[in-house]
């Protein structure tokens, strides 16, 4: 199968998955066709591969298709993170373009490495969920993560917050309201008896438990 056709199929699978995520059902023809191939044609192929089944007049992912599609979404969103966190791309359009191209060349193993490198981020830069991979469950650390929780930094370190992975929603909101947001540059003042970080002119004290959920990358 030629490359562009494979990409088109992957795009379609991803679109079906994303529609489902936003609570809509996917039916052919509603969204623009992928490249040179018509949706109908591609759907046929997905059905043959037992990735999609028809339920009434909607296309549904089979368990096998679901797995494949969520992997594709995972790759795409990780690629977006890679672009915005490490390469510090500002502009969201170019981040999406970069990610689109990049996702197709990532294989599973590289995807897990990227995920680990980024500290197993839970969401893409737009705030949507990144499907978890097997590396996240193991929460691998053998491959040295560049992005790590604040608790792993030494006092005096400067860091840029990459993402926050809170156990409670209102914890995130409280942090946000102080300006503790992805992209913010902070310096870690002390770790004992309580964590103190400095952000601009503000000093903020927070508990270890909270600090452990703020993931950042060291800067000089």
């Amino acid at each position: 199968m030629d490359r562009s056709r494979r990409d088109a199929i992957e795009d379609l699978l991803r679109r079906i998955w994303v529609e489902k995520e936003s609570g809509n059902s996917f039916s052919c023809g509603e969204s623009p066709a992928s490249g040179n191939f018509s949706d109908d044609e591609l759907i046929e192929e997905l059905k043959n591969k037992n990735l999609v089944s028809r339920d009434g007049d909607v296309e549904k992912l089979t368990p096998k298709g679901e797995e494949k599609a969520s992997n594709i979404v995972r790759r795409l969103r990780l690629a977006e993170r890679l672009y915005s966190d490490l390469l510090q791309g500002e502009d969201e359009d170019s981040s999406a373009k970069f990610a689109c191209r990049f996702e197709h060349i990532l294989n599973d193993e590289v995807t897990d490495s990227v995920c680990t490198l980024l500290g197993h981020p839970p969401t893409c830069p737009h705030g949507k969920r990144i499907p978890r991979g097997s590396c996240c469950q193991r929460s691998e650390k053998e491959l040295h993560s560049l992005v790590k929780p604040l608790t792993d930094f030494a006092p005096g370190a400067k860091a840029r917050i990459v993402f926050i992975s809170p156990s409670f929603h209102n914890r995130l909101d409280r942090l946000n309201s102080f300006g503790v947001l992805p992209g913010a540059e902070i310096s870690l003042h002390q770790k004992k008896p309580t964590f103190v970080i400095r952000l601009g002119a503000t000093e903020i004290a927070l508990e270890k438990e909270v600090a452990g959920e703020i993931f950042a990358i060291g800067i000089n």
Binding site: L175, F178, H189, V196, G200, A201, V210
Partner: protein, 644 residues
């Protein structure tokens, strides 16, 4: 004359209350501790032909409300369609404050900006281009230093020229689309379309934030839209929104070349850091406590009380009052005024001669600590200790204030983030934190027995607090909050600020607490006259004598202790001086009186703040706890034949 509403809005601890004071000439407690404004203050201010009703609001981070305070502030905007807003910003912290400017723009509310604390920003070499900022935002911006009143004149004209800002942050398209759907479903809200859109976004962020009056009969429509959005934004919509806004603000600040100064080597900064150091911070805390003890315990409770009580009241005022009372032919009235439980001899002597000097000096010391910015750093040091009681570092403010006056401390329990924590603070204050007046007597009594007595007293009371706190935090329903606290800069306490603050607290004491002492004394007088006191004493005597191993007269002290905690302690002191208490009995009775129900003033404030039911349940628990622990200690100390 026209009548408009002016609302002061801004992040916590940026000087809204100070500015309010300068505009209205009314003093509200100004504090260097985030979140101290819990009541909304109103005042008047005249600007040209317009008289404004000025409203001081609690500090907020966002108008997309996530906390009670934020809902309160947003609703103040909704309730006053003619409102003008003064957005008060900390000039050193524009990143955070300007988020609110964006939100005001979205709601199309006219406002102007006061860049406050400009003096500190200049001292720290901040680069702030005020004109460029005003041009970017399209609203008037003035620099102010609220504490000394500079920039207020310029603020007058800025208020007059308040405008709807131009710059606007965009939301992600799908959030915008969903907001539009919700707006449609809400129908006519009576608010402008901008405000309605803002409320719709607020609803997606936090469903509870939608004003009750706007809720459609059938919530399911808007709930589905919001639910869909929330499912997609697995982290949270508010986080996505804050990120968007923050990005806009950062870009704007980059355009005007806003930059922070360099402030290394600053003595105050170094001091602030040392005070949170795991080792030095502990020493500093001890040194501070020692200084406070010297000032309040030795100077206030010792020297001042001595002067007020022996010289002024007993040497002069009371004999005078007694002589004057002798002219009254009715003995009952005479007793009412100058008898054992007389208003002058008991209520006024105690409240003015004994408590006022202690509470007054305590308020001064507390004011200095508060204004200097030390309290939040003490919270950092004490966080772990309070965690063991089911609370966190923020509780340090009410708990330390409780060592001065539990009644006032109960009022400040509001700074805790959740209802459960407020209940817990109220309970622990009532149970185990002795107020300054009581402490003075307790230290006096323990001083005359061995040091072991003091250690046992502190140990048992702390242990009871830790156990009660940790169990109660597991049993009570509700949430615990995280310890996330902003640390204001360390600064030299302002003399005027401390005088004003102490003044308003003493005024509160004289107006609110003294009348309650008088009421307490009246109740006691009535109980004594009617013979009820004897009945209660007879009823409680077996418990006191057998279970607690104390003389019968101690019952009086405990009973009186409810009307004034320190009366109770003072009653025990009397017994000790008469030689009726041995060492063990001193320790047991002091443990009981410390743990025992709070004074009548505290009880009224508990009811006001936490409701009648909770207060009564707490009080019953406390009485049982105090008697049980006392009995247990009596048993342990007697069986081990500890000599104190």
């Amino acid at each position: 004359m026209q009548n408009d509403t002016l609302l002061l809005v801004g992040n916590p601890n940026v000087g809204k209350s100070a500015l309010f004071g300068k505009l209205t000439g009314k003093y509200v407690t100004v504090s260097n501790y985030p979140g101290t404004t819990v009541d909304i203050s109103h005042g008047k201010y005249k600007n040209g032909d317009i008289e404004y009703d000025v409203i001081d609001s609690p500090g907020i981070y966002s108008l997309l409300p996530q906390s009670e305070d934020e809902i309160v502030t947003r609703d103040l905007i909704l309730e006053h369609p003619d409102v003008k807003v003064v957005l008060v910003l900390d000039a050193r912290n524009l990143h955070r404050g300007l988020v609110i400017a964006h939100q005001l723009n979205e709601m199309k509310v006219p406002f102007c900006i006061a860049l406050n604390m400009m003096d500190e920003a200049v001292a720290q070499k901040y680069h702030i281009d005020i004109e460029a900022l005003a041009a970017e935002l399209g609203v008037p911006v003035v620099a102010t230093v609220a504490t000394i009143g500079s920039g207020i004149k310029e603020l007058h004209s800025a208020i007059t020229n308040s405008a709807v800002g131009e710059c606007q942050g965009e939301c992600p398209v799908d959030i915008e689309t969903s907001a539009a759907k919700i707006v449609e479903l809400l129908g006519d809200t009576g608010f402008s379309k901008h405000i309605t859109r803002f409320l719709a976004i607020g609803y997606m962020v936090e469903p509870g934030s939608l004003p009750e009056s706007l809720k459609p009969k059938d919530l399911s429509g808007i709930a589905t839209v919001a639910e869909d959005m929330r499912r997609q934004y697995s982290v949270s919509i508010s986080s996505t929104m804050s990120k968007c806004r923050q990005k806009h603000v950062s870009k704007l600040l980059n355009r005007i070349d806003y930059s922070a100064g360099n402030k290394t080597g600053d003595f105050a900064v170094t001091l602030g850091r040392l005070s949170m150091h795991p080792v030095y911070g502990g020493f500093i805390a001890l040194a501070v406590l020692w200084l406070v003890y010297q000032f309040v315990g030795v100077f206030g409770a010792g020297m001042l009380v001595d002067f007020m009580e022996s010289t002024l009241f007993e040497g002069f005022l009371n004999p005078l009052a007694t002589k004057a009372a002798d002219l009254i032919p009715l003995p009952a009235v005479r007793d009412f005024l100058v008898g054992d439980y007389g208003i002058v001899t008991m209520a006024l002597t105690y409240s003015l001669a004994i408590i006022l000097p202690v509470v007054g000096t305590f308020f001064i010391a507390f004011g200095i600590l508060e204004d200097s910015g030390y309290m939040p750093r003490l919270a950092v040091m004490a966080n772990k200790v309070f965690r063991k009681m089911g609370l966190h570092g923020k509780a340090v403010l009410p708990m330390i204030l409780g060592l001065g006056c539990d009644t006032m401390a109960t009022l400040t329990a509001r700074i805790m983030d959740t209802k459960k924590e407020r209940i817990l603070v109220t309970l622990l204050l009532a149970l185990g934190v002795p107020c300054s007046a009581q402490l003075a007597v307790i230290f006096g009594m323990l001083g005359s027995i061995s040091a072991l007595g003091l250690i046992i007293w502190i140990g048992v009371v702390s242990l009871v607090m830790f156990i009660t706190g940790s169990i109660a935090s597991k049993i009570l329903p509700g949430e615990n909050s995280d310890f996330i606290l902003e640390l204001p800069p360390i600064r030299k306490p302002g003399i005027m600020n401390i005088i004003a603050k102490t003044g308003s607290r003493v005024e509160w004491y004289l107006k609110e607490a003294v009348p309650l002492f008088i009421l307490g004394t009246v109740i006691l007088f009535a109980l004594d006259r009617s013979g009820v006191l004897v009945v209660i004493r007879d009823f409680a005597a077996p418990v006191v004598q057998v279970f607690l191993g104390l003389p019968e007269q101690a019952t009086d002290a405990f009973l009186v202790g409810f009307l004034r905690r320190d009366y109770g302690a003072a009653g025990l002191l009397d017994l000790q001086q008469q030689g009726l208490l041995d060492g063990t009995q001193v320790v047991v009775s002091l443990i009981i009186i410390t743990l025992f129900v709070p004074c009548i003033a505290n009880f009224f404030v508990m009811i006001k703040e936490r409701g009648l039911l909770i207060s009564v349940v707490m009080s019953i628990f406390i009485v049982i706890m105090a008697v049980t622990v006392g009995g247990l200690m009596n048993f342990v100390l007697t069986s081990l034949s500890v000599v104190l």
